[in-house]
Amino acid sequence: MSARADINAGGRWLGLYVLGYLVFLYLPVLLIPLFSFNNSIQAAFPLQGFTLEWYRTLYGNPALSGALANSLVIGVIAAFGATLCGITVSYMDLYGRSPVAATISAIARLPILIPGVIAGISLLILVNLIGLGPSRVSIVLGHILVALPTTVVVMRSRFVAIPKTIREAALDLGASDWTTFRRVMLPLSLPAVLSAFMLSFLISFDEFIVVFFLAGTEPTLPLYIWSQLRFPRSLPTVMALGTVILTVSFIIAGTAEILRHRGLGAARRNPA
């Protein structure tokens, strides 16, 4: 009885700690939206007054809209590539029964152990060697690499959650490998596919460390922000832009997480 009470008291203190931790996690980031509405060039207290002026400066800025267009195009293509690789790599890892598939899957998760700066320079050497040079295609390749471990992990955990018997039933009933994959396994893992796509899009959209080495004359949004940070006058604009990016990121990441968990829950509830 007393041990039970101890645990509950401990749980309450821990709960307070978790609350404090969340405040630490979110507070610095939330300062960006706060000061983006502040009528002052400096991010300092006391707040001067409410303004939408900094958001207005986002409109009609060709460098900014160019960077945004680049980021969107690169993000979608890289997310498509990374998701395709994530699906095939984890599917073959689980059902391919070959050392090659297992090796590919292991190497696909290796970028977790490579610091971004080294991934960046290795790709920079590579794209120069094959004649691409720093360009948007190079950035797409870099972002496929950066997003690959995430898509493999998301897809793998989804495929693992699908009962083995479903795939075996399809094969036993005469469906070909391709039909089983396309008509049975892929529809069952659709929420995870969407989730992997969204998360890899976000990774590409927010990525800075690798893209820094691979960008040619057409910067992405994070590179545009980086170039603006040198000018103190443009800090409020950066904060307005940052607020927009944070909002979009929260929405996409939130949707992706919900999709991932809803999909997993549904698979457990009706295994057949």
């Binding site: 645990i7 300062l31 300092a44 050497i125 094969l171 490998d177 460390i209 904060m239």
Partner: protein, 295 residues
């Protein structure tokens, strides 16, 4: 189920070669080309002399001799290790109680809390670092808040451009990385183990120290690794909030491919960093085995 499957020809054996090839192709191209071949190029370039051409000239170990004999590189490498080590320690120690709460106390709030702690993971790293720049700046949030509340009358320069600023910023930027692996390790500890410990008369603290903590070590080590690796090679945070006294090895590598324009030397520095990471991975593996990993 499994016994029936075992007596029949396994469906896996029927995979057609065309299907297998098509399915292995995208992943195979990316992993071998973008990962193995690209890393191989770095290794090759590290043993070349710099003549301004892409792949350098003649085989040489001169780059590594320069790294080994230059006190600057030892200092910067050591500083990177210390900063990354402190960041790893800080993130893992602060994340552990959160993961513990999620695994044992969160109840119905668990999914919401998991969602909240992983969400910052998906927001822009650059913006998270930038947020700390406006917090720590001379006429920034922290200084102005302290002056506003009357704690001190003059803004202090002591926040920005210090190694401490780099540690705090990195610890904040990588905090979400540490919680998930620890949570997964804690969550998979069989509840029967805890009940057995308490039935055998262990006080809560003893059962934590002797049962929970050792069983969660694989998660702690995994968390330490995913925080340590990106921080040791970071160059953005030192540039944003660190100042000249916090140059890290990533900064040096980046400048070799930029202003300094000595790619072979930058490749050699990268190889050294990868070797250090390899050592850390091996130590973590060894520790994992010592603590009796369940995996």
């Amino acid at each position: 189920m499994s016994t029936i499957a075992a007596t029949r020809p396994l469906p896996e054996n029927r995979i057609s070669p065309v299907f297998r090839f098509a399915m292995l192709l995208p992943g195979g191209l990316v992993t071998f080309f973008l990962i193995l071949f690209a890393l191989g190029l770095v290794l090759f370039l590290a043993f070349r002399g710099n003549d301004g051409s892409l792949l350098g000239v003649s085989l040489t170990v001169e780059n590594f001799v320069t790294v080994a004999t230059g006190p600057l590189y030892w200092t910067v490498m050591l500083r990177s290790l210390v900063i990354a080590g402190l960041v790893t320690l800080a993130t893992v120690v602060t994340a552990y109680p959160v993961a513990y709460y999620l695994a044992f106390h969160a109840g119905r709030r668990r999914n919401l809390l998991l969602f909240l702690v992983t969400l910052p993971f998906w927001t822009s790293y650059l913006l998270r670092v930038f947020a700390w720049k406006i917090v720590l700046a001379y006429n920034g949030v922290l200084n102005s808040a302290f002056i506003e509340t009357g704690l001190w009358s003059q803004p202090t320069l002591a926040f920005l451009n210090t190694p401490a600023a780099v540690v705090v910023t990195l610890a904040h930027a990588y905090a979400p990385f540490a919680i998930l692996p620890i949570y997964v390790a804690l969550d998979t500890i069989p509840k029967s183990l805890l009940e057995a410990a308490s039935d055998l008369g262990a006080r809560p603290f003893t059962s934590f120290r002797r049962v929970v903590l050792p069983n969660s070590m694989p998660g702690v080590l995994a968390a330490a690794l995913v925080v340590f690796v990106p921080t040791v090679g970071d160059y953005v945070t030192p540039a944003m909030v660190g100042g000249p006294a916090s140059t890290m090895i990533g900064t040096l590598i980046q400048s070799q491919f930029g202003k300094a324009n000595d790619w072979p030397f930058g490749a050699a520095l990268s190889v050294c960093v990868m070797l250090v990471i390899l050592c850390v991975v091996l130590v973590a593996r060894g520790a994992d085995r010592r603590f009796g990993s369940r995996t």
